[in-house]
């Protein structure tokens, strides 16, 4: 198998893994929420979510009918060869997974109002690139559900209000979203940079495992504070009331212009799907988020 074929095969496998099996940190957080939820309606919803996850895994069926918009993150080793083959491989993997897994066709051309039927279209699947040292290529897929995407929020806040303004923006976004993003959610939050930078960092923050505390102690404290505040809203699982509106908060930031305070909140539904693998130059593949049998 050449590099392009290996990449296509790995990306196809990542898509199947992502939509049928949640990473361990998300599963554990949902289990913990079920054990600790005190609202009966909330507990019922969490039990249904856990049963659904188990069934999906067992039957290798997508855990949700909305298999999302397909987004890839590629960390390309500076010494790796044939990087230009990656976009085509990811596109072909997406088309194949759409019929083989199957995935719901979710790529609609907004001008022609036509669904391509294979989850590809202009700029979709979207690929985010990073260059890293070494000769390996790391690929992550993030199938992103539409319900939670629809409540993502971006604001240009007042620098004078500082971090208090950010906290208010986050809480207001959670309350406005209510039951719509299929809670319990994961929040990716970013501030600083510019409008686009904040949103990009917020969405990327959704990929960080929620059982790993932020290495920046101040951000770790902020994450904890926002998690507790979001869970004090009472929205609860699926908006039916309870303690668990959010099971993870991941914050990132960038330096900001003195006159600007961009802030972004990205929401992920309970089906917080992601899968990552590394491809080495000798063709060896390591799956990082899932146990591959």
């Amino acid at each position: 198998m050449n590099f392009e074929q290996t990449t296509e095969m790995v990306a196809g496998k990542l898509l199947r893994l992502a939509v049928t099996e949640l990473p361990k940190d998300i599963k554990e957080a949902l289990q913990k929420a079920y054990q600790q939820e005190t609202s009966s309606a909330g507990k019922t919803q969490l039990k249904a979510i856990l049963d659904n996850i188990e069934l999906a895994e067992k039957t290798q069926t997508p855990m949700c009918q909305d298999t999302g918009t397909i987004i890839f993150y590629v960390k390309a080793g500076a010494e790796a060869k044939n990087l230009d083959k990656i976009p085509n491989a990811l596109r072909n993997a997406t088309k194949r997974a759409t019929t083989e897994v199957p995935l719901r066709p979710n790529a609609v051309d907004p001008l022609e109002l036509k669904n391509s039927g294979d989850n590809t279209g202009r700029n979709i699947p979207f690929i985010n690139w990073d260059i890293i040292p070494g000769d390996a290529v790391e690929i992550t897929v993030q199938p992103k559900g539409g319900g939670s995407e629809n409540v993502c929020a971006m604001g240009m806040l007042s620098p004078g209000e500082g971090i208090k303004g950010l906290k208010k923006f986050v809480i207001d976004s959670v309350i406005n979203a209510g039951s719509k993003p299929c809670p319990p959610n994961i929040l990716g939050i970013a501030f600083g940079g510019g409008a686009d930078i904040a949103l990009k960092l917020a969405k990327k923050a959704l990929l960080r495992p929620i059982n790993q505390p932020n290495q920046n102690l101040e951000l770790a404290k902020l994450e904890e504070e926002l998690l507790e505040a979001a869970n004090s809203t009472g929205i609860g699982p699926m908006g039916l009331g309870g303690k668990f509106t959010v099971i993870g908060v991941n914050v990132d930031y960038a330096a900001r212009h003195p006159a600007s305070y961009p802030a972004a909140v990205a929401f992920n539904c309970w089906a917080a799907r992601r899968a990552t693998a590394q491809i080495h130059p000798n063709g060896q593949v390591e799956y990082m988020t899932h146990d591959v049998r």
């Binding site: 009966s40 309606a41 019922t44 919803q45 039990k47 249904a48 979510i49 049963d51 659904n52 069934l55 999906a56 039957t59 069926t61 997508p62 855990m63 949700c64 009918q65 909305d66 199957p102 719901r104 559900g145 319900g147 208090k164 906290k167 208010k168 809480i171 207001d172 309350i175 209510g178 039951s179 719509k180 299929c182 504070e225 505040a229 004090s232 809203t233 009472g234 929205i235 609860g236 699926m238 908006g239 039916l240 009331g241 539904c269 309970w270 089906a271």
Partner: protein, 200 residues
């Protein structure tokens, strides 16, 4: 909170017993209907035309399923609920005319539907958003499909279900609406959260 297992056709008396936060499981006939099917059903009623199925005592499900054709039958692959508020403009007339007893969906419904459920005896059962495999598992068979010209997601899929649920009663027939309660509680909690975070 109580748990009930109901079999269609469901009577008004059975519905009146249910309170918000109760959980029900439905066995029997469940019919999917989204925007277009609701619209056509009401149009048929207005013109005095019969519906392809008598909906009295049945459950209507806000769902656009993924269905696979196999030999001469159909198999439900995924059948999670869709957002119910879009059907708020039809549901009161729908319940009144067709005596549907259970409406299944996600996200809850508004005052118009809540009032109709109170007046004519129906409930709203919230099914977990995205739990498509769980939903598909309790569907024993596709009995028939009507109005297929509306497209796969919008057609009337007449399903034979066994213990379909859990459905949390979020609107009962006594003017209680759990989603509205949570919303007003959340509005009050906002002030407390602001205080705790030192905002304003």
């Amino acid at each position: 909170m109580a748990i009930y297992r109901l079999t269609t056709p469901i009577s008004e008396l059975q519905i009146r017993k249910l309170k918000v936060n109760d959980v029900i499981y439905v066995t029997g006939t469940i019919v999917t209907a989204r925007d277009q099917a609701h619209k056509r059903a009401l149009q048929h009623h207005k013109e005095g035309k019969e519906l392809p199925i008598n909906l009295e005592g049945l459950a209507v499900f806000h769902c656009g399923p993924i269905v696979k054709k196999e030999d001469d039958g159909w198999i439900i692959v995924a059948a999670g609920p869709t957002t119910s508020t879009r059907m708020d403009i039809f549901e009161d007339e729908f319940i009144k005319n067709f005596k549907t007893r259970v409406v299944i969906g996600k996200g809850g419904m508004g005052n118009r539907t809540t009032e109709a459920m109170h007046r004519y005896g129906a409930v709203y059962g919230a099914f977990t958003g995205g739990a498509a495999v769980l939903a598909a598992k309790s569907i024993r068979a596709v009995k028939a499909v009507e109005w297929f010209d509306l497209g796969m997601p919008e057609a009337l899929w007449i399903l034979d279900a066994e213990d379909f649920g859990p459905l949390t009663i979020a609107i009962d027939s006594h003017n209680n609406n759990l989603f509205e309660d949570i919303k007003s509680r959340t509005r009050n909690n906002r002030k407390l959260i602001y205080e705790k975070l030192g905002i304003q």
